[in-house]
Amino acid sequence: MNARLLPLAGFILVFALLGFGIYWSQRHDPREVPSPLIGKPAPQFSLPLLDDPSKKLGSAELAGQPYLLNVFASWCFACRDEHPILMQQGKRLGVKLVGFNYKDPPDDAKRWLAQFGDPYDVIVADVPGDVAIDFGVTGAPETFLVDAKGIVRYKYISPITPEIIATELLPRISLLKKEAGQ
């Protein structure tokens, strides 16, 4: 009797495995590259400002307060979806919003910002894309939350949505503020 049930048990086992596979893959993006930088110091960098390439801004100047580094480019279609969200909520995040213009001719970036608006407190330009590689950037948009000590606390790949701001960014930002208050 038991031996007759064995194939059924095997079938249920395989079925459960497949079901778990579907369940898992719907909640996890297999293409997402996990960032090894989380919990580690952000790379040291110093990049020219988009508005004024003679001035530089980098990790040294940004140290001391938390900031949100948002990788964007005028060639990036998904950035257009993200941009209105940053325009609406960027100022309400409570942290400095640093634009990271990635592999973009400065004139294109300026035209793009004139067209869609500029939500950033400051924008650095990485035309060759070297600093982006140090950050492990795979494309745009990507967003890094860096704390006052320069530690990367969170990374989000793909456009930021109001849900991501509410569930992922704001709780982490308020945590950083609490840490700073202590």
Partner: protein, 178 residues
């Protein structure tokens, strides 16, 4: 700017021309092994040379081959089913340039891989290293084979035990072997 240019090489003879020659050659039956070797070698060289995407100033052929071998073990982060050697994505070109510059600086393959995984995690390696998170990946197949072998042993033993008893009680074949 990234220029895309296929490198030229004396090794890049069309394999078909050798094949046609091989077919026409009356000595093929006598000397088939030699021809087969020639064809296989020609195909091998065609593969190794055809993959370089951008012209990098290699100092010699050994360095170029080392670069190609390394780039093939690395995954492009943009077109994730392509290796760094094959991809046309701008990021892949940047990473190839970085890998090349580190080779020039005398870094070993392992040092370059460590540099890349510090930025892009093990995801960038096609050959995942063995640690706790990848242990199931490494040993899972062996475990499955072991479980299968165990199941076979149990079934065979049970049948061996049941067979003499069955023969004694019911000498005729019931017809439901399966």
């Amino acid at each position: 700017m990234i220029e895309h240019a296929a490198p030229t090489s004396s090794f890049r003879r069309k394999p078909e021309s050798i094949l046609t020659l091989a077919v026409k050659d009356p000595g093929l039956r006598r000397d088939g092994g030699k021809w087969l070797r020639a064809v296989v070698m020609a195909l091998l060289f065609a593969c190794t040379v055809a993959h370089a995407v951008d012209p990098l100033p290699f100092k010699d052929r050994a360095e170029e081959l080392r670069f190609q071998a390394l780039a093939k073990q690395l995954r492009c982060l943009v077109c994730q089913n392509e290796s760094l050697a094959d991809s046309n994505a701008p990021l892949a070109a940047d990473l190839r340039r970085d890998v090349f510059e580190q080779m020039q600086a005398g870094k070993s393959d392992d040092e370059i891989k460590t540099w890349l995984t510090a930025r892009y995690s093990d995801f960038v390696l096609y050959d995942p290293p063995l640690h706790a998170a990848t242990s199931l990946l490494w040993f899972g197949p062996a475990l499955l084979v072991l479980a299968g072998a165990l199941a076979i042993v149990v079934i065979v033993r049970r049948r061996a035990k049941a067979a003499p008893a069955a023969r004694a009680s019911t000498p005729t074949d019931a017809g439901d072997d399966w």
